[in-house]
Amino acid sequence: MSETIALSQARPFRPLALGKIAAGLFVALILFFLILPTLIVIPISFGSAPYIEFPPSGLTLHWYVEYFSDPDWIAATLFSLRIAFFTTISATIIGTLAAVALVRGGLPGKSFILGLALSPLIVPHIIIAIALYLFFAPLGLTGNFFGFLLAHTMLTVPYVVVAVSASLQRFDPILEMAALSCGAGRGRTFFEIVLPQITPGVITGAVFAFISSFDEATVAFFISGIGGKTITKKLFEDIDFNLTPVIAVVSTIIVAITILLMGTIRLSENRANS
């Protein structure tokens, strides 16, 4: 063994180094496979040909103009943004309260409740989608803002519960007890001591809730209506029937929003760490 080590150290270019380079290349290739399909929509959205062309032979903003001047796309985008905005608010409030109760409260059946709260992540979305469609249709809640709010809040609340719970577990309850024993009420302690400490978790949960509501496709596909249609439902229909570069524009916008919001999380985490 010692001989091998001596030998390999003597040579400037060890087989191990070659192996490392090969491994690095292999990983780079997989990363390329991971990121390329997400980013390929960007150049295609600027392509001048009336069909999908890669690499584009000419650049144009024509498809962006088409998107912004199409009332159907704009209506669907605004509908999705409105749903995502209010979903974020309700999921963040409900999820934060629940996380506080689950982490700090002496509740019976805590792990059962936590499992229940996380189950929308496990139960196939097609089952939730069909069940909600069958439930909403007779109540007139398909294509309805309130129906979407209910569905998307339920689907996104697990992210908030998980993110806020993680923050709470890192936060020492003694600080809370100190505030309480100094005479601050439960509410004041929560808003002045607990909330500032768990803000990064709340922001992370809120951003995840927003992104996953805005991106959510399966449930939206089934509970959209003719009037109330999300951007994902319209995207789904157009991919099936009308494959123009406008779809690449919409995809690019979705990718851009995702990257922007993830940058927000990163910034808020950096601020929390510094």
Partner: protein, 304 residues
Amino acid sequence: MTSLEIGRANPTTATRFTRLFLVTGASGRYPPILAAMLILPLLLLLFFSFLYPVGRMLVGSLFDPGFTVDNYVRIFIEPLYLKVLLRTLWIAFATTVGAFVLGYPVAYAMARAGGKITLWIAVCVLVPLWTSVLVRSYAWIILLQRRGVLNDILIGTGVLNHPLKLIYTEGAVLLAMTHVLMPIMILPIYSSLRTIPKELPQAAANLGAGVFTTFLKVTLPLSLPGVFAGTLMTFILALGFYVTPALVGGPQTLMMATLIGQQTMVLLNWPFAGALAMLLLTVTLVLTFMFRRFLASSGGFGNV
């Protein structure tokens, strides 16, 4: 209203109120009634948008209109449905294997590289994860269709002289699903690799173990909780996948989710769709409960 105001108004009520809502025990825990009030909105939400609708659909599968198990019998006597179930299991399995084989090296590099490289790998993993499955499936259509990017490149470089049929095949579904689910596999493996103390592989190397021996005998076994969590999450999600198979798959690659969707929206056979949903849910939940320990260790998506 604060406890002080109540205290001034009526001391006895206040004492009771304090005991139920405000007193923190020695453990620093919230009193039960306050905790119950905080959790109530979540429970109401889950009941009205999840438990009740799903439960009602499953019960509906047993009443068509009177009590019957015909819908379940039909699944098991008509070979088509069993075939779809087996195909779904196979595609989920193959996707999971693909995601593991490609995902493990990424997770390993992400845990080992450190600094800027880890950050860039994380970007490559997280941006796809949080970008709509729809966008990523659309991208695969662009890449794989008859006049798509891949065929263009292969013809342009002279490898082929006529386009291959890539889209609407099982291969397309496997490729796109592996891509879509890979981040779900990578993240739990990454978080378990990250918790392995650096000294352990070093110690193994110092004791004379080669790179591969160290990996097989030290690193890999210690990362198994993450591997199980990632594998389980990937498999479960693949079983119920709707969007990707619906867009890049063809009639030859019909999976459970698409079948359930068709039965509901096209054939309007809701009780039968409910029975199929029940079957899919049972498979998913049985797997989840069997391997619950591993899921808990990864916190589901919690490490994202």
